[in-house]
Amino acid sequence: MNRGLGLTTLQMAAFVARGFLVFEGVVPEALNARFLGQLRAPGGDSEDNLGEAYNRLLHNPSIPKISPGTRLPDCFQPDDCLHEILDLAVVKGAIKSLVGSAPVFDHHFLHLTLGASREALRTAKAASQHNHQDSTIDPRQAFDIQMFYFPQAVTVEMGGTRYIPGSHLRRVSEAAIARYQNLLGQQQVVCPAGSIYVFHMGLWHGAGLNQSSEDRYLYKIRLGPNEPQVRLWNDVDLVTQPNAPRPIFWTDPSQQDDPIASQLMALEPWFEADTGRLELINRLKLWRYLTGDAKADIDYWLTRVENEWG
């Protein structure tokens, strides 16, 4: 049981159902400015192509080189911007709730998308990035998280990360989904400075085309669990087996809504009619893993197919 800082049960249900959480503007402006100031060239960014920009950035000490497998508490120095950001109460609480208090560092990266004026010098054929799932096929029930930190405000024109809510439980092979140009309900990051998006490792996403005049920075860090991901959040209100599960299909219109159940059972507009039901089943399997309750169910989806007597 956990009563400390951390996500609520409803936030955990949203993460299980949709594969992401958004924390807008949680990093103080002074910290955003310090982080960006350390990344930008002393005389202002001037490179005309990404290769030149990364030649400079990869030598920047503000983003250290870290071995995969390092425990997060051992990754950054106390006066590093990134240490301060990851130590913010809301950020620390989210990390702890999802992957524990000493998760394993996988990798991090600074994504830079040049503004349109300079990108056009590099190529007249600039395009958005295809949708993809990071890493490779990953059949685990345990999951890593990817935190996306946007140190500057991201406008529509800046082509912030596009992502597909509810795609995280589909087991696909990286860019094999590149053909899926558009899906109903797709979203794009548009946010104030200092926002952090937390993705389940499987969430389909891709970078948009930066059509603004401003360079766009995105710092990403991937963290894996170092312990069972069971009830690590502020689970004071968790009920996995209600005394009287809510009726299904033939329901009482005046019945009080259960926000946790409703969140977990909310379909995405791009789900196929039949596959959407499989998505619900896979969410419930993940919910059982997270709650530690092997009998947890909603709307009878798992109990029905487990009623085996043969």
């Binding site: 295809h130 596009r162 140009q181 558009n182 039949d274």
Partner: protein, 94 residues
């Protein structure tokens, strides 16, 4: 007169062509447009049949595949993929 192919890929809610479009992709061999990922939030047609009525020619539909024993609940790629084409006359540059 030369011709160039345009391709439309529709992903539908079921295996039936008259069900809603849930995803889509376009490719333009004429070079007149340059579709890319994330370029539209509204599908070009409501259903696959609407694309037929607008002159698109269906050239491929994904088959229905049996579920592998033990993997019945696994989800991965979009299941109901339909490829359409149009041919457009094209005047090559001299």
């Amino acid at each position: 007169m030369a011709a160039r192919q345009k391709v439309l890929v529709l992903y539908l809610a079921t295996s039936a062509l008259d069900t809603p479009v849930i995803g889509w992709a376009r490719y333009d061999g004429t070079g007149e447009s340059r579709p890319m990922t994330g370029d539209a939030d509204v599908p070009p047609y409501k259903t696959g049949v609407d694309a037929l009525r607008d002159g698109w020619r269906l050239i491929q539909a994904s088959p229905l595949v049996s579920h592998v024993s033990g993997e019945e609940f696994r989800t991965d790629y979009l299941k109901y993929e339909f490829f359409f084409e149009q041919w457009q006359s094209f005047e090559p540059s001299p």
